[in-house]
């Protein structure tokens, strides 16, 4: 590989990334990813929009930035193709990307990150960092447009994915990891760990359904709390002020009356 002269191949991180490059070398119909020619720590990837969603038929391209501490710290994902779910040119907030480093596990990999990204596309954004909530029509329009999108270094992205190589099936372990990832995101935004005990019994789609059901309210509540808090404070302090002025005025009036009574007699 061309990296051998450039990087210390004895470094575990370099060894690991070269191994991952080998593993992801062949494109599948679901995703493909490769390191840039001159930088093993920056990759470009392409994923297919998940079927039976707003993104069906779309092809989305982006960058993966790997921190020097990889795989101890998570990769950052940046989408480049407009898609209506994630802002482009912005590090996006999956529970396994860099914004929530505490949930990342070194035994996950770039493949895990891509699978998580695909699984996350149809979930509601709810105003989290880097999220967009475009309508179905807008997303479908963007999905069609994405087929002619070009990357400066990779060319026309629609040609990058394989048309006949079946996707590598998601193993049981990976499915479990994906469940964990999805669950993590849910916990992070709703603070309801009570679902966790039933995870084994629910299928992923059910889980997603639940997330759609529960997330909006609770999240709005959270946001509302954040926004409202300062106002409540100022309101309560202005309330206090109002009452003190009232009490002071009344006291003053009483004293005045007493004094008048005393001196006018």
């Amino acid at each position: 590989m061309s990296f051998e002269g450039k990087y210390n191949v004895k470094s575990p991180a370099v060894k690991r990334l070269m191994r991952e490059a080998q593993e992801l070398h062949e494109a599948t119909e679901e995703y493909c990813a490769h390191p840039l020619d001159d930088n093993l720590f920056e990759w470009h990837f392409t994923v297919h929009g998940p079927p039976s969603t707003d993104f069906e038929g779309g092809v989305y391209h982006g960058r993966i930035l790997l921190p020097p501490e990889y795989p101890m710290k998570p990769p950052n994902i940046i989408l480049l193709t407009p898609n209506g779910r994630f802002e482009v040119n912005k590090k996006i907030c999956l529970s396994i990307s860099g914004h929530h480093p505490e949930t990342w596990q070194p035994s996950w990999s770039i493949r895990t990150a891509l699978l998580a990204l695909i699984a996350f596309m149809p979930t509601p954004g709810n105003g989290t960092i880097g999220s967009l909530d475009y309508s179905t029509e807008e997303r479908q329009k963007l999905a069609k447009k994405s087929l002619s999108w070009q990357c400066d270094s990779c060319g026309k992205i629609a040609d990058l994915l394989s048309k006949d190589t079946a996707k590598t099936p998601i193993t049981e372990e990976e499915q479990h990891m994906l469940d964990t990832i999805a669950l993590k995101a849910e916990e992070a935004s709703t603070n309801e760990p009570s679902f966790s005990s039933s995870i084994e019994n629910v299928s992923e789609s059910e889980l997603r359904q639940r997330r759609m059901d529960t997330q909006p309210e609770t999240h709005e509540q959270q946001e509302a709390e954040i926004i409202v808090n300062p106002q409540v404070e100022t309101m309560s302090s202005s309330n206090d002020l109002f009452w003190s002025i009232l009490i002071a005025t009344l006291l003053f009036a009483i004293i005045l009356l007493v004094l008048r009574r005393l001196f006018l007699v």
Partner: protein, 264 residues
């Protein structure tokens, strides 16, 4: 405290700014720590511990009593991985001198990968950590004076050092999950053992508690003695053996939030 000003800003920015500020501050602290404290330090006479507490009677008296039982201390970087790093360093250092125990450990380490894969850990990455772990073991296993230097060098190279920590975290997690019925009783809150492992054992930089130590010592069949040094009553740092009754192969000093290595 530094977050205060951002709270005055418009609400829509609050979340982002807070996040960024916390991350920035965290990075600054991490950088400071990594610049000033080695991953694993040199062996120091125990008096250096006393010198830390000249102004603090409780700790000073405990440090002095500790000095009667232990001669040296080796400090580790407080990055949340200190238990696993201190434990593996101390254990491998001990094995340099004990050939048959080393062979036994090597055998166990070799088999550990298949055990983890059969428990459902992803083979592709577990293999990667396992290979590096075995590489470190074999480099140290020669049993010569050079082994000590090699051990110290590898444990101070972030890449190797962290890979050893990751793999030990996986082994501890495997142990907990294999005997989940037993360990479930020790887990606080509404979590299953598997969830606990995903949240508190496998991720890097997560601090270790009793349960991590119990799992680690059980998985490797190694006794660990921890001296707890805190503000509690008495003039001695309380000793705790994991598991009880097994002669300790590794001695650690615990001060709130941090583990260092002790030498009798």
């Amino acid at each position: 405290m530094e977050n205060k000003p951002s709270q005055q800003k418009p609400a829509e920015n609050t979340e982002v700014n807070q996040d960024e500020l916390i991350l920035q501050q965290q990075r600054r602290i991490e950088k400071e720590i990594s610049e000033s404290i080695a991953l694993v330090g040199e062996k120091e006479p125990l008096q250096s511990l006393e010198r830390e507490y000249l102004e603090d009677e409780v700790y000073l008296s405990k440090a002095k009593t500790l000095g009667q039982k232990y001669s040296y201390i080796r400090r580790t970087r407080p990055d949340g991985n200190c238990f696993f790093r201190a434990f593996s360093y101390a254990y491998l250092e001990r094995l340099i001198d004990i050939k048959d125990e080393f062979e036994k450990f090597r055998e166990l380490a070799l088999k550990s990968k298949d055990n983890l894969v059969s428990l459902g850990f992803p083979e592709f990455t577990v293999e990667d950590f396992h290979d590096t772990f075995m590489e470190v073991i074999d480099k140290v296993g020669a049993g010569t004076e050079a082994s000590r230097l090699e051990l110290h060098k590898l444990f101070n190279e972030q890449g190797y050092s962290d890979y050893v920590v990751v793999y030990l975290r996986l082994i501890a997690s495997g142990q907990l999950q294999r005997e989940a019925d037993f360990y479930q009783h020790f887990i606080e809150g509404d979590r299953t053992v598997t969830e606990f492992c995903h949240q508190e054992v496998e991720p890097m930089y997560k601090e270790s508690d009793h349960i991590h130590i119990i799992a680690m010592s059980a998985a490797l069949g190694t006794g660990v003695q921890v001296r707890y040094m805190d503000r509690g009553a008495g003039t001695e740092a309380t000793a705790h053996d994991f598991p009880e009754g097994v002669p300790p192969a590794v001695h650690l000093l615990y001060r709130p939030g941090h583990y260092d290595i002790l030498y009798p």
